[in-house]
């Protein structure tokens, strides 16, 4: 809850005004029955019409004053909740922008998205409601109680008893219902999972004719959900009848004990009427409070989730005193580098990696899945930090560069191709916002993307993403390569980025990279030896260690691992389509 207060702070004047306005509204409501007793006692009883009219006018003016309070509160609360919510959303977004890859991995993308969308909306709603209801309900509740006491303390004891019973009843019902609702949520997840999986695996379901099996699975989950729902709601629906009973029995009590007091002359009849009104107000506001608390406890979960993100420590930050390299040529050296994932058990992913890549060289990296290839290249642009050892680029430890400076020097084309909504040109220009049209085309040409782009109906202006056309996986990869090339980096890393490109095109990309980016140091992760055969140096990784290093010819002579891979690919035949 602290965090809510923190975000309301810039709008504290409005946040304080809101309850003050609400006080006006609540008081106007509280004062009505009291004025009624006066009107009847001093107007009706003495047949004083002008007093009645005067009092009536006063009541109406107070009612209208209440509108000002109500609307004033509403406006303040709406502004505070929306602004505080927007600020919170923005801070959350900025925080995530600063997240390192490791941070993103810990939270997982879908979870980050829900936190930024649903959770924030929930919190906004609760701020709005708290500012209005949370003030209004206790005000009305205690106000009614106090008013009742000022009229007749003895009779007001009924209120105390009613509150106690009501409170206890609500407490027990809630306590019994809450865990049940947690279960309802779980069962609902169950239903949704069966449904979602069935949709996603529809081809498999159809292929194996498993409709009946799926139906059984679904029916079990569905019935289960229904039963749990019934159990939970059966408890909740006791609430309303029980409350009404308590309220109504209290009314009877007021009539009875009030009647006795009227007899003994300590209470007037119109005061009984006022009592009944106060009682109703009090019970209603109690119910309102219960509802608000329910919302708040639900929002508490959202709040915690948002807070987790805000509190997360960002593990990769700019150095205090950044260093600039003397030359920008793209020399890379790994010095006894170790890497293990934080919290990962024991075995390091990379172990004692040392090698040097000279400017303009092409370095091939080969190895089985899980041997640490991607991890190795991800360390260069500091997507992750080494656990031990150091990486130098142009003589400067990567941790001494500012992150932006470093990532401008080192372009990496990630394994997973992600393009954004927008035109192809806009997507390519991600790498360099100031690129000219010629540069865009040159980059696309180098990535062998120009030809297919020109074949699209709108060329470079073709919209990508949900609204636009869908290009194939290989085409996406080529656009993402162009996006990296246009950045004009010293070092460029292909993390298996041509896996969906056919082999002829892949070959052309390699050739054009050789020609146009001769000075650029190139790292290429590949599955196929054919992709990296011409590299100046090939690193063979196995279980996080470099087991062989050298060019193709050297490795063919010296490395058993390399030979094994070579023969398995060549003799058993490669892959035809690619």
């Amino acid at each position: 809850m602290k965090i809510i207060l923190k975000y309301m702070k810039p709008y504290r004047i409005l946040a304080i005004l809101a309850p003050l306005f609400m006080m006006i509204e609540a008081s106007s409501e509280l004062i009505m029955p009291k004025l009624m007793t006066l009107l009847i006692n001093q107007g009706v009883a003495t047949s004083n019409s002008s007093y009645i009219l005067k009092m009536g006018a006063a009541m109406i003016s107070i009612a209208i004053l209440g509108i000002i309070g109500g609307i004033g509160c509403l406006i303040c609360a709406a502004i505070v909740s929306q602004r505080a919510g927007a600020d919170l959303r923005k801070d959350l977004f900025i925080k995530i922008q600063n997240f390192s890859f490791h941070n993103i991995d810990t939270f997982q993308t879908p979870s980050l998205i829900t936190r930024l969308t649903n959770d924030i909306t929930q919190i906004q709603m609760v701020i709005l409601m708290s500012l209005r209801m949370l003030i209004r309900a206790p005000l009305l509740c205690f106000g009614s109680l106090i008013m009742a006491f000022t009229i007749n303390a003895k009779l007001a004891m009924i209120f105390i008893i009613a509150i106690a019973i009501l409170g206890l009843a609500m407490f027990f019902i809630m306590r019994k219902a809450m865990p049940k609702f947690q279960m309802v949520q779980n069962k609902l997840d169950g239903v949704n999972t069966v449904m979602r999986e069935c949709l996603a695996g529809m081809r498999v379901v159809k292929a194996f004719v498993r409709h009946d099996y799926e139906m059984d699975k679904f029916n079990t989950a569905n019935e289960d959900y229904k039963e749990t729902n019934l159990k939970a709601f059966r408890i909740v629906i006791i609430m309303l009848p029980a409350m009404m009973l308590i309220l109504n029995v209290s009314v009877i009590a007021i009539l009875w004990f009030g009647g006795i007091q009227v007899y003994s002359g300590t209470l007037r009849i119109e005061e009984i009427m006022a009592f009944i009104t106060y009682l109703m107000q009090m019970v209603m506001s109690l119910m309102m409070m219960a509802m608000v608390f329910m919302y708040i406890s639900r929002a508490q979960i959202s709040l915690n989730r948002v807070n987790e993100v805000l509190k997360e420590e960002i593990d990769i930050v700019d150095p205090v005193k950044p260093v600039l390299p003397k030359k920008n040529e793209g020399k890379v050296s790994f010095d006894n580098v170790f890497f293990r994932y934080e919290g990962g058990s024991g075995e390091p992913v990379l172990e004692g990696i040392s090698f040097v890549a000279n400017p303009g060289e092409t370095i091939g990296i080969l190895g089985e899945t899980g041997s640490g290839k991607s991890t190795l290249v991800n360390l260069m642009p500091r997507l992750y930090d080494v656990s031990q050892g150091a990486i130098y680029i142009d003589g400067v430890d990567v941790r001494h560069y500012t992150i932006h400076e470093l990532r401008k020097k080192v372009a990496v084309i990630l394994q997973e191709t992600i393009l954004f909504t927008g035109t192809i040109r806009e997507n390519i220009k991600w790498g360099n916002k100031d690129a000219t049209e010629d540069q865009v085309i040159a980059a696309a040409k180098a990535a062998q993307a120009h030809d297919f782009i020109m074949e699209l109906p709108n060329g470079y202006d073709t919209e990508l993403g949900q609204k636009g056309v869908n290009v194939s996986g290989g085409q996406k990869q080529r656009i993402s390569i162009a996006r990296a090339i246009i950045q004009n980096p010293n070092i460029i890393i292909f993390d298996d980025s041509t896996s969906a490109v056919d082999s002829l095109t892949e070959k052309r990309i390699r050739q054009s990279m050789m020609e146009s980016h001769r000075h650029c140091t190139k790292f290429m992760i590949a599955q196929k030896i054919s992709s990296i055969k011409e590299a100046d140096k090939i690193l063979v990784l196995k279980d996080g260690k470099i087991v062989a290093e050298g060019n193709h010819n050297k490795l063919m002579e010296t490395s058993v691992d390399y030979q094994e891979i070579y023969y398995s690919q060549m003799k058993k035949g490669g892959v035809l389509d690619e």
């Binding site: 009219l53 509403l74 602004r83 069935c198 695996g201 409709h211 679904f218 009848p241 009944i276 035809l576």
Partner: protein, 598 residues
């Protein structure tokens, strides 16, 4: 029991149902079965409403007749009567809620079941054209709306209506002038609500739109967050985020204010009514007109009882409209065209030899865009047919037709001499084994995922299948072996491992005809070798159709069909095709050269 401050949220009115009458009639059909429960509920509601109105009047009587006259015997009588009525109303309320709860949940469960059943019968075409998110939203949001309406809105609308009528009748009976005084503010209220409602709706709609845009943006950016970081676009992205965030803020504030404004106005008008009733009643007493304190007291309560349902009715009607709109969307799914029923005279093949013939098959997904033209293929039992060709040539379509995922437009496909249109659909698919490119795994244990191939398979058979598929080794090494639960549809396994599981599944199913879509994605060499071995084991002794990407598969195929632009342009075995020096030759040469292997 809503309070006016929380009402006035009009998003429900954003999606108006198109044909309320028809939808209502259809929804009512679901309720038919529960007529007894519903009748009892309605009686209960009537009792609660009228009981409350009557009890309120009794309070007035108690004041006028017994408290003023100090008649405690009478007061005791009234009080016990009140107690009886109140206990009765609470009991009825409870019974009614229970009944409605039960009916509501049952109906919703039935609807959910019907949707799921329907989904099982829908053709693949439907899923190709509809996103999962959309279907899911119908099962969750729309069904929820129906459920909410059934649980509370329906009974509340009924209750509100009855309360209005009962209270009005009682007020008119008690005092016509004071009744007029009570309802005099209602026109003001209606005008005020109406004036606000249209603006409120407009702002709310705009707010939802901008929120949607912002959330869409967030979803896209956060999904691609790693790319944002790699290209150092954090600042630019934050700028466009801030712009969208501010856009939302401006409308958001207005939307909240206008949608909430009805609350305070109602509150104040209630107080005004209160004042008018008291003043009017007081004046009547002073003037000697028929009026008592008890009646004034009654009117104070009645006026509240009268305006509350008016206010609530609007909310409830909105909720019901949302439910109708939801029901309509649900019914849309239920009305979708299903896969064609099996013809009544359709046959069931017992022992399938695996003799498959395509003759003159034409097909198009969309009218006017033919995908396949004049396809002729003949696979003898035990043969392997490799389908080769560039992406988009129509290889996958051929397989979709054989499995009857789609129905052909022209020509025939026969299995063992029977037209597949005349074979029971289930029968065809259980005759065919299909291993798709990306393997779909369920959130369940590995054992159950393999068992999906044949549900009555024993554990031994499962292990046997896994061994043949070369999957046994890696499964054994997993922490819980065969009982390892796959999360995230197998996200914790590598591509190659998932393929091996798919092969195990197919081996277990033991089909006569096998359809294989070889994966294009790259796996490391050793896994590759293992998968090839597994495929080999799987293909033995069956008729195989393979969308081939591997040289070894193609070389060993009995027939290679080279497909381009929906037509078979070359056919023959590897040697023959190489000698022809045509399309295949070029395709092969490209691969051959870039691989640099002999």
């Amino acid at each position: 029991m809503n309070n006016p401050h929380m009402g006035g949220r009009p998003p429900a009115s954003l999606k108006k149902p198109k044909n309320t009458k028809k939808t209502l009639a259809r929804l009512l059909k679901y309720l038919n079965k529960y007529w007894l429960q519903l009748t009892i509920s309605i009686i209960c509601i009537a009792f609660v409403t009228l009981g409350t109105v009557f009890a309120t009047r009794l309070i007035g009587v108690a004041i006028d007749k017994y408290i003023i006259t100090f008649d405690f015997q009478g007061l005791a009588k009234v009080c016990s009567m009140l107690f009886a009525i109140y206990v009765g109303t609470s009991l009825c309320m409870w019974i009614q809620s229970n009944l409605f709860l039960h009916v509501g949940q049952s109906v919703v469960a039935t609807i959910r079941k019907e949707i799921f059943e329907k989904i099982q019968r829908l053709p693949l075409k439907y899923f190709d054209n509809t996103t999962h998110g959309e279907i899911m939203s119908r099962v969750t949001n729309d069904v929820d709306n129906i459920s909410m309406a059934l649980n509370s809105s329906v009974s509340q609308v009924f209750q509100s209506g009855l309360t209005l009528i009962g209270t009005l009748a009682m007020m008119l009976y008690l005092s016509i002038p004071l009744t007029i005084a009570t309802i005099i503010t209602i026109p003001v209220m209606l005008i005020a609500t109406k004036a606000v409602a249209s603006r409120s709706r407009r702002y709310y709609k705009e707010k939802q739109e901008r929120l949607g845009k912002l959330n869409g943006f967030i979803e896209e950016i956060i999904s691609g967050q790693k790319v944002v970081k790699v290209f150092c676009q954090e600042e630019e992205i934050t700028d466009s985020f801030s712009k969208k965030n501010t856009d939302l803020l401006e409308v958001g504030m207005r939307a909240e204010i206008f949608s909430g404004i009805v609350g305070p106005i109602m509150m104040a008008l209630n107080n005004v009514t209160y004042a008018i009733v008291v003043v009017g009643g007081g004046l009547m007493m002073v003037m000697g007109l028929p009026m008592t304190l008890g009646t004034i007291s009654n009117f104070i309560i009645y006026s509240k009882q009268f305006t509350r349902p008016l206010n609530e009715l609007a909310n409830q009607v909105n909720a019901m409209m949302a439910a109708f709109a939801g029901a309509e969307r649900v019914f849309e799914v239920l009305d979708e065209e299903e896969e064609l029923e099996d013809a009544p005279e359709s046959v069931e093949l017992k022992a399938v030899r695996g003799d498959v013939v395509f003759s003159n098959v034409d097909f198009s997904y969309e009218e006017g865009h033919p995908i396949l033209k004049e396809i002729n293929l003949y696979a003898k039992p035990g043969q392997t047919i490799a389908l080769v060709g560039p992406t988009g040539a129509g290889k996958t379509t051929i397989i979709n037709l054989l499995t009857r995922f789609y129905d052909i437009a022209k020509g025939t496909i026969t299995i063992d001499g029977y037209d597949i249109k005349d074979i029971k659909r289930k029968n065809i698919r259980s005759t065919l084994g299909i291993v798709l490119q990306d393997t779909y795994l369920f959130t369940d244990t590995i054992r159950e995922n393999i068992r999906y191939g044949r549900l009555n398979a024993t554990d031994e058979e499962i292990i046997e299948a896994a061994k043949l598929a070369n999957a046994h080794e890696f499964i054994r090494r997993l922490p819980d072996g065969y009982d390892t639960v796959l999360s995230d549809s197998g996200g914790n396994l590598s591509q190659g491992q998932r393929q091996m599981l798919a092969i195990s599944r197919a081996i277990l199913a033991n089909p006569s005809i096998l359809i294989l879509d070889e994966a294009t994605s790259s796996v490391d060499t050793r896994t590759e070798v293992k998968i090839q071995e597994a495929m080999h084991n799987l293909m033995k002794g069956r008729t195989n159709f393979v969308i081939a990407h591997r040289l070894s598969t193609i070389r060993e195929a009995d027939l290679i069909a080279v497909i381009n632009h929906g037509e078979i342009i070359e056919r023959g075995n590897h040697k023959e095709l190489m000698e022809t020096k045509g399309f295949y030759y070029n395709l092969y040469r490209n691969q051959f050269e870039s691989n640099g292997a002999g």
